[in-house]
Symmetry: C2
Subunit: 153 residues, 2 copies
């Protein structure tokens, strides 16, 4: 098992983007059950199947397996709800690497920044380009966005 310990923030402004090149990701869900989400993610010629348990505080169980990209395309067609289309940028700040997701399609306009931590107690310095924390807001879960995309909020 892995554990995912993550905080999530809305992004304000464009200060994070110093010419970083992003990676396009498409992802969908075979299970939207919050106790056991099953995600298919395709990024270029790489793909993964990821199972996550229910979040407890900032922590979720996470199991991730590499799968062939051509099978990920077929699995995306099996998914329930919409497929999410986003560009992920990796942005360094104060010794930490943030992941900034710029959503497209039905979630156009949504930009969130995530930081993974080794423990819940770590104090991460916040860049000036992050705004409100949304770690506890289920609307921002990607597994929620496939049913209720940002444009319908």
């Amino acid at each position: 098992m892995g554990r995912e310990i993550e905080r999530k923030f809305l992004v304000t402004g464009s200060g994070w983007n110093h010419g970083a090149t992003g990676k396009r990701m498409t992802q969908g869900y075979l299970s939207l059950d919050p106790d056991r989400t099953v995600r298919v993610r395709l990024a270029g010629d790489e793909a993964w199947l990821t199972i996550k348990g229910r979040a407890q505080g900032l922590v979720r169980q996470e199991f991730e397996y590499t799968i062939p990209a051509h099978e990920a395309r077929e699995l995306l067609a099996l998914c329930t709800g919409a497929v999410i289309d986003k560009i992920r940028y990796r942005v360094g700040y104060a010794g930490h690497v943030w992941e900034v997701d710029v959503f497209h399609g039905d979630n156009d306009g949504l930009i969130v920044a995530e930081i993974e931590m080794d423990s819940e107690d770590v104090k991460v310095p916040l860049p000036e380009w992050v705004g409100d924390e949304v770690s506890d807001d289920p609307r921002y879960l990607n597994s929620h966005l496939v049913r209720m995309p940002f444009k319908e909020w």
Copy 2:
């Protein structure tokens, strides 16, 4: 993608068991949605994650990935519904290999035989120890047995 083309029968009598040694399997489901079941199966020190689409006739899309056995144990604890416990025997008959599943626990008393085929048109000779065909009966799906075990029928 793989395709699974399979027929399923009830087993009558013990004529199939000529001292064959079986392999114990425990399995559960991360998704019971018939359009996209996600199964975790553990057999000794081997384990798999298997996604199947909705059956169309005898055919289902199937994607299978090997996963570490110790992670399968943790994933089984994440599964919805009961975990199925069965012994699978491989039994040769007329040039075909049948899989005979002898269920235990809440499905004690249920024995089914399955045969995988390369195409729906293959005429498979039926052994004398198979009875009614249940290929089209969803009650016999393992993904159904975790919610409605045989002992409650």
